[in-house]
Amino acid sequence: MMLVSAVLSPLRAAVVHSYSEALSKAGDKPIVIFLYGANYDKLSMKTYDEFIKKNKILPAVRKSVFLVVPVYQNPTPDEKKKYAKIMGDKKLPGGIWSYPCLAVVDSHGKLRGIVQSAQEMKSVESATAALKPMLDAFEQQEKLLSKAERASGARKADLILQASNINLTLPDGVGKEKNNKRRGRGEMDDDIGLKNRMSFDPIAVVEKLQIMSFEEADAYIRGMIAEGCYSRRQRQEMMAAYAGHLRRNGASAERLRALYTEMRNLDPNSMYGAYAEGAIALWVEKKAFDPSTVPVEVRRASEEVTTVAAVPGTVEPDPEPTVRPSGSSGGMTALGSTSLEDVAGPSVEDEPSEDDFEADADAEAEAE
């Protein structure tokens, strides 16, 4: 019995009762926090009954550290005590926007991902479907970052880039020379422009473009994209700035169509993919959006799959392509494109490979 328990223990969530205990136990594992409105929200209470009382969410939490935190409205002294007992003097991380939710936090207290939309939290099944890939991504990202800590030079930069391509918020300080808690031993050679990615500001691009001619703007954007280090979302933002500059200064409809198509094709299922599609309808095909055609109750399918909200103040991670709702255009209509297709998308080599994880496993074995 003990043997079975010992074998299974890494697969079971470690349920803890205080936040500080969760932080201290987590190590490189994620902490999953179930937060719910405890004294004001009947929906939260129903979710609590389903997820926690009936123990239904625990299987999805797997190897993580698991904590339940009740959130009170105008708490009574007793409720204040209960909360203080769990949270101590620590505060919940920023980026939690709605209760009930499942927050994925690292051992430094940084919110790395969260399941909080109504659609995701409506049942144990939908919450599990959203949480599972997030925990997988956490594990992958931590492994890459762990390897990056031990690496140096271009390899280090490359590993961080791979980690940042995973659909999860990065830990604080990653890829930054200053205040980098996870910089590790080796110095990083940033030949691939990782710092540019980390410090990318789309509004700065807009400002730069403002006083440029079309040719200058084209050269500027193409040059940035050619650097290859930027995430799909960042490249879409560059394209949005470029197309916006051209549109406001009287570029032809065909040129706009080509640019917006290129922007959309970078990641058709993302928000900016949809933006580009909307821009084509609006400014090329002159079709205004009529909200009355969309029933109030309709929700996008993309909401029903994993969506990880970026925490404000951090670099938006490169989103994984999302599932397009059936019946929609799919975002891949055959429209004109530009010469940049080859440069735009990340190569397959950029994605984390199984080899990386095996190496990690070896390293762990060595460490033990």
Partner: protein, 858 residues
């Protein structure tokens, strides 16, 4: 028969026939059927003697038991209406005080004497008991069955029956009898029915009754004391005919809901608020269905379940209901926010942090253009909040996001405008909190009294928080209205006076009484004086802004002309300020009050005495000292016409008083600094160079430590003297409260030692300097607080002789580190005003020095 005789007989016949036909117009054809009214003896109710002090109110447990259930006979025998006979056509206009076509009651014709507190004592004891009774009754709502649907065929006649019944029951028409009458729920229900008929109008009620479910709804409403009280006494009940029409629409579709206390409130308030605001009935139905279905599905914050009718107005009556993109109150948006921004009440304060602050989207489109959100709308299903969460926005979007997050979950909240900014207010644990606020001036988007300032928000909260007291007062006002209409003048006055005594915060009642007084006793000085004192001692104890506005609008115009003695008038005006302890509920604009007071004086001598007195009083209250100086300076420049001698006289007096009353001790220096900062800011707004300089010098004398000792940067001068030293300088940016307090440093920007001033350059917005005299310029130097001035866009100078028409004279200033320099030795332009501008986007460097070199013209 002669032809003449036959003509005569025919004419006589016609006259008779006409008279017969017209008879019903002038005389009642059928007397209203007498309904058996059960008059009740006083049942030994312990009424405190008039001389009993208020503190000796009879304890609750000693109060003799009374049976609340007064079974009224059914009113079913209403005659069909005769269209020519209706007299209560439309009594909506509260200000008209139209009287009904009833004979005057000689015993009630006289306006009673104004009363002191002592004379209210006995009545207040009865009021106290009534309040306790209302509290108890809330546990067991009173419903009657005596009205039948048929009565709505002729509401006019129903009114007559009810009026007779009420007057018979009251008997003596003194306060004691009236309050005794009001102890019974059946009587209060009759009073409410009367109120409903009078305020809706009989024709409109007939129209509402003719709607598919109209009769049933009206009957249910008029038999339910809680519901009808929710309609009439839960805040503004205007456009009742439309409100009832709206209500019928909801009732027709969701009639059963009205039996449920919470759904009843949602339906009632949706109907009333959409009528009040003039919003579309279709949107009202969507709003009702959003909140009722969310409530039924238990998706709202639990606090929503406990909201009363008046509190529901904030939530169910929230703005922007029509179903189109950009409207935050439309169902699609509310649903999304309800499901995706679910927080405890406290956390909605700051929920705007979920959005990025962005003036432009990543495509470079301005947040103020339609292109900003348009392409992303299909992605977010046209959901406004979702779109802004994806794209970001500025203060408007951020504040709406937090506000409507709370509203969508059923919590009271409202957006509010501030100068150049949008903020919001959320009610947390019964207390209103400001969110995303940067300034003291708030214009709330949702109000009860059409008064958007913060003080009225708190007044509304305080008024209805003391719900049962206000309910008593509102019913007394209803009684006063009814009695006034029945020509019972004495009783009507007594009820009004008692109502405002019972609840001194009752803004609508105070306004109503003042209006009544103006019509019925415009020259009764004692009554006006009593009303004035009631406002100062009641409302004016906490709500300085509201009290001042009421006095200015309603009381001063009527009372001031009756007070001939200047000193007494000064004393009365100063009486308003005696309660001021800080700003009250919020900083407010005292200037209109001072303007109103000074304008009641005819001569400049009287005005000067008043100004000296008010400056003396208010300079002793630190918060007001800056504002009163600002007012004084403004009044001198604008209120005295073109009388320059008077202007000089007033200015000298004011500057002298400023010197006398501003504090000298180090401890009080901050207050002096802030006061003079406000005053110099006002001088800038008035473009008053002389006062600007006078205050600047005074500040330098009094608060030397606040000024820099010398300019940090070395400035290489141009030929000539600094002609701007005696000028006035203005910045295009909006100053926050803290910046206003430091405005004397703007004066120092023109001095060699240097000062500090926020700069703003964007198109025609820049820094403007008015010189003492027209001058021939040799150069201009602007020293900024930047290490290096941004050089991607050119700076240039425009000049003017009148401050209105500008000519560009010198382009592309030379940037030298922190300085922008213009060498004008070649052009030597002549002007009295000049401004420094920069092309293109907004740039806001601080300004520490601004020097115009040249030679003044003689």
């Amino acid at each position: 028969m002669s032809p003449n005789l036959s003509r005569l007989l025919i004419a006589a016949g016609l006259v008779f026939a006409l008279g017969f036909m017209c008879y019903p117009i002038f005389y009642s054809v059928q007397e209203p059927e007498e309904t058996a009214v059960q008059t009740r003896p006083e049942e030994g109710l312990a009424v405190t003697d008039d001389t009993t002090p208020v503190d000796d109110w009879t304890p609750e447990d000693e109060e003799p038991e009374q049976t609340d259930e007064t079974v009224e006979p059914e009113i079913t025998t209403i005659t069909r209406p005769d269209p020519d006979k209706r007299r209560i056509l439309n009594r909506q206009d509260d200000e008209l005080y139209t009287e009904e076509d009833v004979p005057e009651d000689p015993t009630q014709k006289k306006v009673p004497e104004a009363r002191g507190h002592a004379s209210f004592t006995s009545s207040l004891a009865q009021v106290h008991r009534l309040k306790k009774r209302l509290e108890r009754e809330s546990q067991k709502p009173y419903k009657s069955k005596d009205l039948q649907p048929v009565v709505w065929d002729n509401p006019e006649e129903l009114y007559q029956v009810l009026a007779k019944r009420v007057l018979t029951k009251i008997e003596k028409l003194d306060e004691k009898s009236i309050l005794q009458f009001m102890q019974q729920p059946a009587n209060r229900l009759d009073l409410a029915r009367i109120n409903l008929i009078r305020r809706t109008g009989s024709e409109e009620l007939i129209r509402v009754a003719s709607l598919p479910s109209g009769r049933g709804m009206l009957t249910m409403l008029a038999n339910d004391l809680t519901w009808i009280s929710g309609v009439l006494y839960s805040g503004p009940s205007v456009k009742l005919e439309q409100a009832l029409t709206n209500m019928e629409l909801i009732y027709r579709k969701h009639g059963e809901d009205f039996l449920h206390p919470v759904l009843n409130k949602i339906g009632t308030i949706a109907a009333m608020e959409f009528a009040r605001e003039g919003w579309n009935p279709e949107d009202m139905m969507a709003r009702y269905e959003y909140y009722s279905s969310s409530y039924k599905q238990e998706l709202l914050n639990s606090l929503f379940d406990t909201l009363q009718y008046w509190e529901m107005r904030w939530v169910v009556g929230c703005a922007q209901p029509s179903q189109s993109v950009g409207n935050w109150g439309e169902p699609r948006n509310l649903k999304w926010m309800r499901d995706n921004v679910r927080l405890p009440a406290e956390q909605y304060l700051g929920a705007e942090g979920q959005l990025c602050y962005r003036l432009r989207n990543v495509a470079g489109d301005s947040v103020f253009s339609s292109a900003y959100l348009a392409p992303v709308l299909p992605y977010v299903n046209g959901t406004t909040a979702w779109a802004y969460r994806e794209i970001g926005g500025v203060c408007g979007a951020l504040s709406h996001y937090a506000t409507y997050g709370a509203l969508a979950s059923g919590l009271p909240a409202a957006t509010m405008g501030e100068p150049g900014h949008c903020a919001y207010a959320i009610r947390i644990n019964g207390e209103w909190k400001r969110g995303n606020s940067i300034y003291w001036q708030h214009q709330l988007s949702k109000t009860f009294f059409n008064e958007p300032e913060w003080d009225y928000l708190i007044l509304t909260e305080n008024l209805y928080h003391d719900f049962y007291t206000t309910l008593v007062a509102d019913q007394l006002v209803a009684m006063a209205d009814f009695l006034g209409a029945r020509r019972k003048m004495t009783a009507s006055f007594n009820c009004y006076e008692l109502a405002i005594k019972v609840q001194p915060l009752n803004w609508p009642a105070l306004n109503r009484y003042a209006g009544y007084l103006k019509v019925k006793a415009p020259e009764d000085k004692e009554k006006w004086q009593r009303l004035h004192d009631s406002i100062v001692d009641g409302l004016g104890k906490q709500h300085y802004n509201a009290a001042s506005k009421l006095l200015v609008r309603r009381v001063y115009p009527n009372l001031a002309p009756m007070i001939k003695d200047r000193n007494k008038l000064n004393k009365m005006y100063a009486g308003l300020f005696k309660n001021f302890d800080g700003w009250g509920t919020n900083r407010w604009d005292v200037i209109p009050t001072l303007d109103a007071q000074i304008n009641t004086y005819k001569t400049n001598e009287d005005k000067k005495v008043y100004m000296r007195e008010v400056v003396r009083v208010l300079m002793g209250k630190p918060e007001y000292s800056g504002a009163v100086l600002t007012w004084g300076l403004k009044y001198i420049s604008q209120g005295l016409g073109k009388d320059e001698a008077a202007q000089d006289d007033f200015t000298d007096m004011l500057v002298r008083m400023m010197g006398q009353h501003t504090r000298n001790t180090r401890k009080e220096q901050d207050q002096t600094w802030a006061t003079l900062g406000e005053a110099i800011n006002a001088a800038t707004e008035n473009n008053d160079r002389r006062v600007f300089q006078a205050i600047g010098k005074l500040a330098y004398r009094k608060c030397k430590d606040k000024f820099p000792k010398k300019m940090k940067h070395r400035v290489k001068s141009f030929p000539g003297r600094i002609v701007s030293e005696t000028g006035i300088i203005d910045t295009a940016t909006t100053l926050g409260a803290g910046q206003v307090a430091s405005s004397c440093l703007h004066w120092a920007v023109l001095q060699k030692s240097g000062g500090a001033m926020p700069g703003k350059f964007e198109g025609k917005a820049g820094v403007t300097v008015g010189l003492e005299k027209k001058s021939q310029l040799t150069g201009v130097i602007c020293v900024t607080s930047e290490e290096k001035v941004k050089d991607d866009r050119p700076f240039y100078i425009e000049v003017s002789n009148d401050g209105q028409n500008w000519n560009r004279v010198f382009g592309n200033g030379v940037i030298d580190g922190a300085q922008i320099r213009f060498d004008m030795r070649q052009e030597k332009p002549t002007c009295q005003y000049l401004r420094l501008l920069r092309e293109g986007d907004k740039y806001e460097p601080g300004i520490v020095g601004f020097y115009v070199y040249g030679k003044q013209e003689r």
